[in-house]
Amino acid sequence: MPEEPLEKEQETEEIEAPPASAEAPARMLSIGVSPHIRDKDTTTGIMGWVILALLPVTVYGIYMGGLSAFIVVLMSIVGAVATEAGIQRLRHMPVTILDLSAVLTGLLLGLTLPPKLPFWIPLLGGAVAIALGKQIFGGLGHNIFNPALVGRAVIFVSYSKYMTTSYLATPKAPLITSQSIKAINSVTGATPLAAQGLVRKGELTISASRYYKPLLFGNPWGCIGEVSAVLILVGLAVLLYKGLVDWRIPVCYVGTVVILSWILGMDPLFAALAGGLLIGACFMATDYVTNPMTAWGKVIFAVGCGVMTTILRFYSNLPEGVMFAILFMNGLTPLIDRYVRPVPYGVRALRRMEAEAEKLGDAA
């Protein structure tokens, strides 16, 4: 045996093995191209972690929204998964619902819907998300737009009446006294963003800071996933810790909105917390398939999302701009990827070297 105990270093205790022969049908050794080891993260694993990161906000959202919220989330997942399986069946492709990506799409869609929707709307939304948002492009990795947002956009346009009126009236949030919510409600009777719009027009006076606490801990005016900013940030922390998303996207997106809103005269913290910005910036804009590949590409994408969101919030009659902002930037992603590319190692150095050689040649 080759082992010999050595100095003071961490010694290994090895049992002398009897020399056995390596006799074996040699051709049975397995071969492959390097690398011969792989990281343990898989597509399924990543999707699983994102779902896990969404779990706190999902659970709390369902707690606040009650049974109907549960049905909304469940139905959008069912719609997405069933459609994925059905289309793959029809096209004689391997059915990949076990990779959890359709589950995640359904869950994300469900979280962006109001809790009191009738059950068939999320079901339809999930189906549309997968069919028009993903499979039509050729499945996972090929779609241009975030599937969950495609699904949401379609039902938002088709059933806007439902989409704007199916919110809760008062929350069950333990940290929020329903009195304070009622107080705000009685003044505005509208979503915080809409109310602040009225404030800007001078038709209303209500301080944005009165919304902080409900937005952070228990927000009744929003979609299921907008229920608590704190829990979304918990989810983001999980993703960042696992290295699954690039910090640049949420930071630049929210940062841009905060700065622009502040310039335009909105309370910056309120701008960050209200509406679907946080869930959009942390979970929608960070969708792998539909944002740029490079660090700078991601920055451009995120700042673009921020600018679009602010524009839509301030200058359109839409209640919220996050969805269309992200979809718009999704559309620009192929272009960003085409023009924002990393400079490979040594290419700049080569150009410099050639330039120097030319100068020398000129001088000579």
Partner: protein, 464 residues
């Protein structure tokens, strides 16, 4: 490294991966390998032209006797690693997977050295030209795995000045520990070899680069250097820190221009194994006939860092370590990130074989998809040490779009394997890149011949 450094690294740096180190044999002293009855010495163990055999079937050879050489400049002679009789000169399986000419020697087990093997009296006083000649005759090649003939590296063109010799002690491949043991046990030899090399190229500065995860090697080399002026540079532990270009960037902050050599930035990189081999050559006169090989992995019973005679069959080395464990798995020559997996154990250890890593059936990767599936997660882009876009390399190659491959700098890829390692869908990116390089250069050649034909034709026409 401070906390802020770590945060900076986490937020901004890109390139490289952190595979589990699995340095199973790092604490095992270097010891002698098997004494084989039969060796197969390939005539190509280096980058460059193959050697011509200098011996015939039936001829008696002695240890250190030159048995193959070439007229070509980029080549290195090969020597007998045992004494005995030449049984045949024929094609045998080569670690590269192809069959190649090798000299088969049946050993008399006596290890009688050849005549004329004598130490060089004062290597540090020798002329650079003499050092190079001796290094060439000693058959020394880069021992880090690339196996580029060392005498060629020691002879830069006159317009290139080499100021810095980097002694590469970054053994970033998992499992391998041969270089680490060398530095711990034979620090003086490594430095001696480095000094000889730096004399040959006139480098004023010697930097020994070691990963921060090998404190024992760092202190051994520091002690050995003493007041000699050699610096020890602590590297971050990331794969592929030992790759030449990455190493130069970390130490000097400069990029080696694309398609150029380290000497273009005034640097020369030599592996610690190469330095030790040079030192041994000058101290004993014995050419490169043995090298240190790490044997490790969960598919082999024992483990160790063995001094193995070049040409020993992998089968004999594994038997020496107690044999395969748990049936047949995968046998990799080199490290698991860039090494070559073998379909038979009857391949010889060559000058370039730094490790024999044996993975059991259970630890072999099995989840490669049948076709290129990319979820655009961007990990490959983030982790490529060369700042490439591996997913584009992979998808263009997969689609056979050879002409597009230039625009994504395929020839700058060093095939380190980081992209394939980190890819969540387990795309075989390195394989695709190899195929792509092949396809790209074939197409380029074809275009060039086409162009030439056209030119000739138009020339003929204008002549007519």
């Amino acid at each position: 490294m401070g906390l802020t450094d770590n945060i900076k690294r986490a937020l901004f740096t890109r390139g490289g991966v952190h595979p589990p180190a699995n340095k199973l044999a790092a604490s095992v002293k270097i010891s002698d390998g098997p004494n084989p009855e039969r060796v197969l010495i390939p005539l190509t163990q280096h980058v460059g032209s193959p050697c011509e055999p200098l011996v015939e079937k039936g001829e008696k050879v002695l240890v250190g006797q030159k048995i193959g050489d070439s007229e070509a400049y980029i080549s290195a002679p090969v020597h007998a690693s045992v004494s005995g009789e030449v049984a045949s000169i024929a094609k045998f399986t080569h670690p590269s997977g192809r069959d190649a000419l090798a000299v088969e020697i049946i050993s008399d087990l006596e290890d009688t050295p050849a005549e004329g093997i004598a130490p060089a009296p004062d290597p540090l006083g020798m002329e650079p030209g003499d050092i190079r000649a001796r290094v060439r005759e000693g058959g020394i090649v880069g021992m880090g795995g690339a196996a580029f003939p060392t005498h060629v590296k020691l002879n830069p063109p006159s317009d290139k000045r080499i100021e810095l010799l980097i002694v590469n002690g970054a053994e970033c491949e998992p499992y391998l520990s041969a270089d680490y043991r060398l530095m711990v046990e034979r620090a003086q030899d490594v430095l001696h070899g480095a000094r000889i090399i730096s004399r040959a190229v006139g480098a004023e500065r010697i930097v020994v680069a070691i990963e921060q995860t090998s404190p024992a090697a760092i202190s051994a080399m520091r002690d050995a250097a003493g007041s000699g002026g050699e610096e020890v540079f602590t590297l971050p532990a990331v794969f592929p820190q030992g790759a030449e270009k990455t190493l130069i960037k970390t130490i000097t902050g400069r990029d080696v221009p694309s398609g150029k050599l380290p000497m273009d930035v005034g640097a020369l990189v030599d592996n610690v194994g190469t330095c030790a081999a040079v030192s041994e050559l000058f101290l004993t006169g014995m050419p490169l006939v043995k090298r240190i090989v790490t044997v490790a992995g969960d598919g082999v019973t024992g483990r160790g860092n063995l001094r193995v005679k070049v040409g020993t069959l992998v089968r004999d080395v594994i038997d020496h370590c107690g044999g395969l464990e748990g049936g047949l798995g995968q046998v990799i020559l080199g490290g698991p990130m860039t090494g070559l997996s073998q379909y038979t154990l009857d391949v010889p250890v060559t000058k370039a074989t730094g490790g024999i890593v044996v993975l059991s059936k259970e630890s072999i990767i099995s989840e490669e998809p049948g076709h290129f599936t990319c979820i655009r997660c961007g990990r490959c882009v983030r982790h490529c040490p060369m700042n490439l876009m591996p997913y584009l390399l992979g998808s263009y190659s997969d689609a056979g779009m050879w002409e597009e491959l230039e625009s994504v700098y395929i020839n700058d890829c060093v095939e380190c394997g980081c992209c394939a390692y980190i890819c969540p869908t387990k795309n075989p990116l390195v394989q695709l890149i190899k195929v792509g390089k092949e396809g790209y250069s074939r197409r380029k050649r074809k275009m060039e011949t086409l162009k030439k034909d056209k030119e000739e034709k138009s020339l003929e026409e204008s002549n007519a």
